[in-house]
């Protein structure tokens, strides 16, 4: 490549491996090892995006995960498309396609740029203030605001990649493989701790790995050479697992951490086939060592956001690591020594530095003298007051700072440049530490927050702990680790360091300007376009809490979560409000540290694995016979069985009629079944059900209603006494697990003295229910040995029987109001017994029916469905089921609540039947019920809970709850719908066969 921005000096770039990629539809070249950002910079491209609110041109600002501006759309127009990806983190590969976001029609000419001209009328809170009146207009505003908001485009089709989750348990987790992380990992592993070292980058060593300066040495070796040997050594340690491209997203309590391991994103697309793309690591570590380093601070001055303005440390990384110069005519602007290291890196390669602007009057360090020796003009005690150039910086103007740093004085000087490196000192990356519940303290000398109180067995080391100089880092790291791991010797005897930097800094949160603040655009949060002016406005308008200022100005709310500007926001607030730093606290750093893809979060739980589902033993038969299914809890239940071209209504009408006219068959295997044994089983049932159980004879079944302690209906079902101390309880399908849990709770905590044992046997049995006038003929063909005479086998009783030598239980119970039998047999025989019933019922038009028909049939009989007709606010009295509440029993769960002042109110909602004036009109479930539609506001009396067209009664029937409904029999009410009002009459909830003749019909 004939490119004067690329220098052949980096061992991290493979110059024999050229990689082509597309950015904004143009093809460029880079090398293996480049990030998208370094490759673009090598091609002279800085402008990569537009800002969120003002659509200002923005360039690459950093070289890492803290990047606020260079966020791009990856894989445009493909199922893998991904928005808001940081160009600084994307490793390029052959065929990469990326484009700018938040601009139209292009990044170079963006219509939204008009917002920049309008910015005087777009202050913080503009949207809140402007679009709130009149309130009714919000829906109209919203459409346009939503259209212009947002960054990238989300994919519209399913993600084709594979993701997975993995649990990791280790003794020591080291986060960050910079110089202190490497030393910590080596010490831990060599002392017998099972250690995991993770780093978000593709290489180890952090920023020290390209620290080739003569002014920074460890044991008389150049830092990078010394560190390389260390890395070489630890990569052979057995006790140590190293994961690169792995970013810790969250640090929770009890040393539980989530990390994303990136496995294929750096590979060409054709090499990713069938490989896991990203892995979510769920790490439980006994001890955690956080060595996440620090993030360089920008400086806050007018127009500090133009393309070509980068952090000085980023410029250093691009040249040292990638061999890429960010500009040909550079200026560095700093308040500390860091920028001089960048200067030396540029000087070594002969890249022009026009000037260095330093806030400090006095600079006294070896490295600064060395820079001066190279004839670089240093403006001491100066500040940048403005920058120029629309799509790329081309000039700056500078002025002298007053003694107190509050004003600028003297003459304005203009300097040319195509790249400006800024350095405002360093902010320890304490995000993970605070996520874990750690408390920070503020260090006045250099204005940083550092870890103070650790909530778990963890420690922070290196610059994330506020140790900035090389000597300090190494010395403190070694002593902290020894103490933390409780070992006598670290793996390091004496480590000698030499550093040419000193730590002096002149910290000014908001640099002064010759203009009034109202006329400046000094960006604090680049991604969200929050300026110093906005923060001051928020304070003027009365906001004080940092959390409120954050929400009002949106400072720190972008995808970068304010990694660069949060400290300045805090600084400006405390300066303006005249309070001390630290007094306002910091905003909460929330997980994830860097954004996670949804794919990583859900892992393999997609498609049919999104949620587990349960199938009955007869499921395959239903599938083969064209059943439509509905989800009930986790179960797939047959819903209805359409024949020919029937729709649901037609199928349900046919099924319902067949069940009453001849015979129907239902798969009831999903009902919860709890086996109850023990000498106190009867007493236990007495306490958990509302009715009495002591006198239930062996071989008999009884319907029971279970309440919560607050008196509200919780579950229902039929329980059968199999023998003296042995019952089988059935529960609703959805309630099974909760009922078992509730029963166990009472047994273990309130009544441990009872001799009762509970086991869930739901999955052990298949349950087949055959109902209708011909049910007996069918079931007796399947079980010929059993005496089905009505005298021997009465309603609500059970028999042990055998089908082909397989034991089964037959109950004569009914949920449809028809004469019916329920066969319970070992699950694996369920399908064959079902098929036997179908065969036996052939001559009787036996009709399989699903849940919808079951619901219709029971509604004809006015039987409730817990959860459909009830909603945890109805007592059995409200349901007109007084008959099931024992007056004699001293106590049962919920009894006392049934006569609380609230539960005995006459005007509670009560269950009633509803008949429409027009028998063909079927009500909508959930529809409101009122009496007087002229009254304003209309009083809602209740709502419809179940509604069907009954083919057996040839009319529409419904159940509903109505205030005081019990005493409203025959009264006319109204169901107001969108286009009409439907007249209904309150009726008895039992619509069919109130006397129960069908149930007891002699067959």
């Amino acid at each position: 490549m004939t490119n004067n921005l690329r220098f052949k000096t980096s061992k991290f770039i493979d110059e024999t491996y050229r990689v082509s990629f597309k950015f904004n539809n143009k093809t460029y070249f880079g090398f293996k090892g480049d990030t998208l950002a370094s490759a673009l910079l090598a091609n002279g491209i800085h402008l990569v995006g537009r800002s969120f609110k003002y659509h200002r041109p923005r360039g690459i600002m950093t070289s890492g995960s803290e990047e606020p501006n260079a966020i791009i759309q990856l894989h445009d127009n493909s199922s893998r498309t991904e928005p808001n990806v940081r160009a600084t983190e994307v490793e390029i590969y052959e065929g990469l396609v990326a484009s700018s976001q938040n601009c139209w029609p292009s990044v170079n000419f963006d219509i939204g740029g008009i917002n920049n001209l309008l910015s005087p009328i777009l202050p913080a809170g503009f949207y809140y203030k402007t679009f709130m009146w009149p309130a009714s207009f919000w829906e109209k505003y919203e459409y346009f605001i939503r259209k212009s908001a947002g960054l990238g485009k989300s994919p519209k089709v399913a993600d084709p990649d594979i993701y997975e989750h993995k649990y990791i348990h280790c003794d020591v987790l080291v986060i960050g493989a910079g110089i202190s992380g490497i030393m910590a990992a080596k010490t831990a592993a060599k002392n017998g701790f099972k250690t995991l070292l993770v780093d978000e980058k593709s290489y180890l060593g952090g920023s020290s790995i390209y620290d080739n300066s003569e002014y920074s040495k460890v044991n008389n070796q150049i830092t990078s050479s010394w560190l390389e040997k260390e890395i070489n050594e630890i990569s052979k340690l057995e006790n140590l697992e190293i994961k690169t491209r792995t970013s810790v997203a969250a640090f929770h309590g009890y040393n539980f951490l989530l990390a994303r391991e990136n496995l294929t994103d750096h590979l060409p697309i054709n090499q990713r086939e069938n490989k896991v793309r990203q892995r979510l690591l769920k790490i439980r570590a006994k001890k955690v060592i956080t060595a996440t380093g620090s993030i360089e601070r920008p400086l806050i001055f007018d127009n500090n956001d133009r393309p070509g303005i980068l952090l000085s440390s980023a410029i250093k990384r691009y040249i040292d690591l990638y061999g890429v110069a960010c500009g040909e005519n550079n200026i560095l602007f700093t308040n500390n020594d860091t920028a001089y290291e960048t200067a030396m890196s540029l000087i070594q390669r002969g890249i022009k530095i026009n000037a260095i602007i330093d806030n400090r009057e006095q600079i006294d360090s070896k490295i600064s003298y060395e820079v001066e020796k190279n004839n670089i003009k240093i403006y001491k005690g100066y500040t940048v007051i403005d920058t120029y150039g629309y799509r790329r910086i081309n000039k700056i103007s500078i002025m002298k700072l007053s003694k107190d740093g509050q004003k600028v004085i003297g003459d304005k000087t203009k300097l040319n440049c195509d790249c400006l490196g800024v350095s405002g000192g360093w902010t320890p990356a304490v995000h993970l530490f605070t996520q874990s519940g750690g408390k920070l303290k503020f260090r006045e000398e250099d204005q940083v927050f550092i870890p103070n109180v650790y909530p778990s067995d963890q420690i922070s080391i290196g610059s994330c702990n506020g140790d900035f100089g090389l000597e300090e880092i190494i010395k403190n790291t070694l002593s902290s680790i020894k103490k933390f791991l409780d070992i006598d010797n670290s793996e390091y005897k004496t480590v000698e360091t030499i550093s040419g930097l000193n730590q002096s800094k002149r910290n000014i949160w908001l640099l002064p300007s010759d203009k009034s603040i109202g006329k400046t655009k000094s960006f604090v949060d680049y991604q969200n376009d929050a300026t110093a002016k906005d923060i001051k406005l928020a304070l003027r308008e009365g906001f004080r809490s940092i959390e409120h200022v954050k929400r009002y100005t949106t400072t720190g709310m972008g995808t970068d979560q304010g990694k660069l500007g949060n400290m300045h926001a805090l600084g400006i607030i405390s300066e303006t409000a005249g309070t001390k730093m630290g007094e306002h606290g910091t905003t909460t750093f929330r997980p994830p540290y860097t954004p996670l893809t949804f794919g990583t979060i859900v892992g393999r739980n997609v498609g049919e694995f999104f949620d587990i589902f349960r199938r009955t033993p007869i499921h395959d038969w239903h599938v083969a016979n064209n059943a439509k299914f509905e989800n009930v809890g986790q179960w797939k239940r047959a819903w209805y069985y359409p024949k020919d071209n029937e729709n649901m209504h037609q199928a349900v009408q046919r099924e319902s009629k067949a069940a009453r006219d001849s015979a129907g068959i239902l798969d009831a295997s999903t009902l919860g079944k709890i086996d109850i044994q023990g000498t106190d089983a009867s007493e236990f049932l007495n306490r958990v059900y509302t009715n009495a159980w002591s006198k239930l004879a062996v071989g008999k079944c009884r319907y029971g209603l279970m309440l919560n302690e607050d008196g509200m209906v919780y579950d229902d079902g039929v329980t059968t006494r199999l023998s003296e101390n042995h019952y089988i309880m059935t529960t609703t399908t959805g309630g099974a697990a909760n009922v078992l849990g509730k029963l166990e709770d009472y047994l273990q905590t309130e009544w441990p003295e009872l001799d009762v044992y509970l086991s869930s046997v739901t999955d052990h049995y298949a349950t087949i229910s055959v109902c209708g006038p011909n049910s007996k003929k069918i079931v007796s063909k399947v079980i010929p040995d059993l005496d089905f005479s009505d005298e021997k086998f009465t309603h609500m009783s059970f028999k042990n029987a055998k089908i082909d030598n397989i034991k089964c239980r037959v109950m004569r119970i009914s949920f449809t109001g028809e004469h019916s039998y329920e066969i319970n047999i070992q699950a694996n025989f369920g399908k064959s017994v079902w098929e036997k019933c179908m065969e036996a019922g052939k001559d009787f038009n036996i009709t399989p029916y699903g849940t919808e028909t079951m619901h219709l049939l029971r509604a004809e009989k006015g039987f409730i469905i817990v959860g459909q007709d009830t909603d945890a606010t109805l007592t059995p009295i409200d349901l007109q089921m007084d008959w099931i509440v024992s007056k004699k029993k001293y106590d049962f769960i919920g009894k006392r609540s049934l006569y609380r002042s609230d539960t005995i109110r006459e005007d509670r909602k009560q269950l009633v039947g509803l008949l429409t004036e027009n028998p063909e009109e079927v009500l909508e479930e959930g529809a409101q019920i009122v009496a007087d539609i002229k009254k304003s506001p209309i009083e809602m009396l209740g709502h419809v809970t179940s509604s069907y067209y009954s083919p057996n009664l040839k009319k529409s029937i419904a159940l509903g709850v109505v205030k005081g409904g019990k005493n409203m029999l025959g009264q006319k009410l109204i169901i107001p719908m969108e286009n009409k009002n439907i007249n209904v009459t309150v009726a008895d909830p039992v619509f069919l066969d109130k006397e129960g003749e069908r149930l007891n019909a002699k067959l």
Binding site: H252, G253, E744, D745, T749, E750, Y890, D891, R900, S901
Partner: protein, 91 residues
Amino acid sequence: MFLINCPFCGEREQSEFKAGGEAHIVRPKQPTELSDDEWAEYLFMRKNIKGIQFERWNHVHGCRKWFNMVRDTSNDQIKAVYKMGEKPPVK
């Protein structure tokens, strides 16, 4: 996510457990003798302490046993676990 030391199984992930509210609230032996107010006190009133709190937990995806826990709600430190029916440890 907590690591909970189930008194029956030992240390397990929090995801295996279910929290069950305030501990040591005994169901009245004779509910029918209670006034509405007394019954409401048992039924509805619960403490929500910032600091040391006594709680019921259930190892629902494990041994299914209920037990008690002493937890500092201000920092989620678990101070003690003990079986149902046992006296709470004194500080």
